[in-house]
Symmetry: C2
DNA sequence: TGTACATCAGTGAACGCGCGTTCACTGATGTAC
DNA sequence: TGTACATCAGTGAACGCGCGTTCACTGATGTAC
């Protein structure tokens, strides 16, 4: 059995189990038994459970962040100096996520759920790791958001970005369960693409709601 | 030491620690040492760790759900047959949360974070408990949402409610950290009321975005 | 070509630790006669 | 009023268990001379 084989089997099993159950609720024994490898192999190849978690994220986030940089490059080229709109920026992000190479529908679903969990479970080491590894595309996304919403104060923008992250991370982290409920209740099949297509207009409308401090009661309108 | 004293000390300590660190990352030993009570007292008074978690939620959710029912009663009386608007419904909810009796600013913050964690950490037993204990006010809120957004299809409404829950639960579950960041970066003090005041227009605008399936590309506008 | 050694993926068993839970027990208070 | 018993909050110590990690070891493959 070549090294890559064992390493990949561990990564595959860990990815699925983490997405299903979260990090601290998934033991190394579950992972190694699902991967049919020896318990000690995780520490041999990765060093620790935390390092394994980092590797699981790195395996899909590194290609994703490359795809994303490319999408942002294209977007800025097409806009020729003008800042891209909010809608365009969000679409560049979501389409990069949905069109991940080497990932089928199920793989994208897992990828989404892991992203949601990363934000949602308070794993300090993971947050630090992601911040230092992927600060560039994240910062670029934030800059685009800022340019697309010049009408917002810094404080308003800050909070609305948190609301967006929340809606996205939460929905993604439980998207499987939510799709099942919808299937059972209304008999509707839903793909990850459908969810994303519904999410983007919701987020864009929320981001562009009228200033809450100026008109806190009336119906919101587009600025 | 009277019973109520020990029980309350355990509940107080558990509430704070759960809010800080989540459920499975908080051990009974941490709780009992913070509460200065014997380790075995938790199992003596509550029976198990899960039952303690339920009691922590029941202690603040029962008065909250009473307050909420009252707020909905008043809202429907004032509307005299007409269904309340989305904005009114959301405000009734958030104001009930913010005006919880016996809870100061810090207490409200903890309460918010626990609510966020309840949705966010996949504790099956807790979800079941909350569903069967508080299905009435939850169902009523859903009915009001439905009446306030007659223009949405059932599927659209379903997803947008998930987006709302996500933005709310996520923001609330990390509201302390988010407020600290804002304090450090922009030097701005923020109260829970401020966050809620910003959240409601965002949610209302998102809920009322134009139909994503009809106008998926253009800038969103209010229906 | 043959031998000695180095490297390295993988293994089996055990380690110490913190966890939730249990149990026999104490000591104060209330109750029956 | 005094005695025997019941109740119950609270305690100290231990239980068994699953956890992440460690360690001595194996066996296959590559390399130097």
């Amino acid at each position: 059995m070549a090294q890559s084989d064992t390493v990949d089997r561990i990564l595959d099993a860990a990815e699925e189990l983490f997405a299903e159950r979260g990090f601290s609720e998934t033991s190394l024994r579950m992972i190694t038994s699902k991967a049919s490898v020896n318990l000690a192999a995780v520490n041999y190849h990765f060093g620790s459970k935390n390092a394994l978690i980092h590797s699981v994220f790195a395996r899909f986030l590194t290609p994703f962040s490359d795809t994303l940089e490319q999408a942002f490059d294209e977007l800025e080229q097409n806009c020729a100096g003008e800042p891209p709109t909010l809608d365009q920026t969000l679409r560049a992000l979501t389409e990069s996520a949905v069109r991940m190479p080497q990932r089928n529908e199920r793989g994208i679903s897992i990828f989404m759920r892991l992203l949601g969990l990363a934000y949602t479970q308070s794993q300090g080491h993971l947050r630090k790791f992601l911040e230092q590894q992927y600060s560039q595309p994240f910062g670029r996304f934030m800059r685009l958001l800022k340019e697309a919403t010049p009408q917002l104060s810094a404080v308003d923008r800050y909070w609305r970005i948190q609301f967006m992250l929340g809606a996205t991370a939460f929905t993604m982290s439980s998207s499987d369960a939510l799709r099942d409920i919808l299937q059972n209740k209304l008999g509707v099949e839903t793909s990850v693409q459908d969810i994303v297509a519904r999410l983007v207009p919701f987020l864009a409308a929320g981001m562009q709601a009228s200033d809450p401090m100026q008109a806190p009661v009336g119906k919101p309108s587009v600025a």
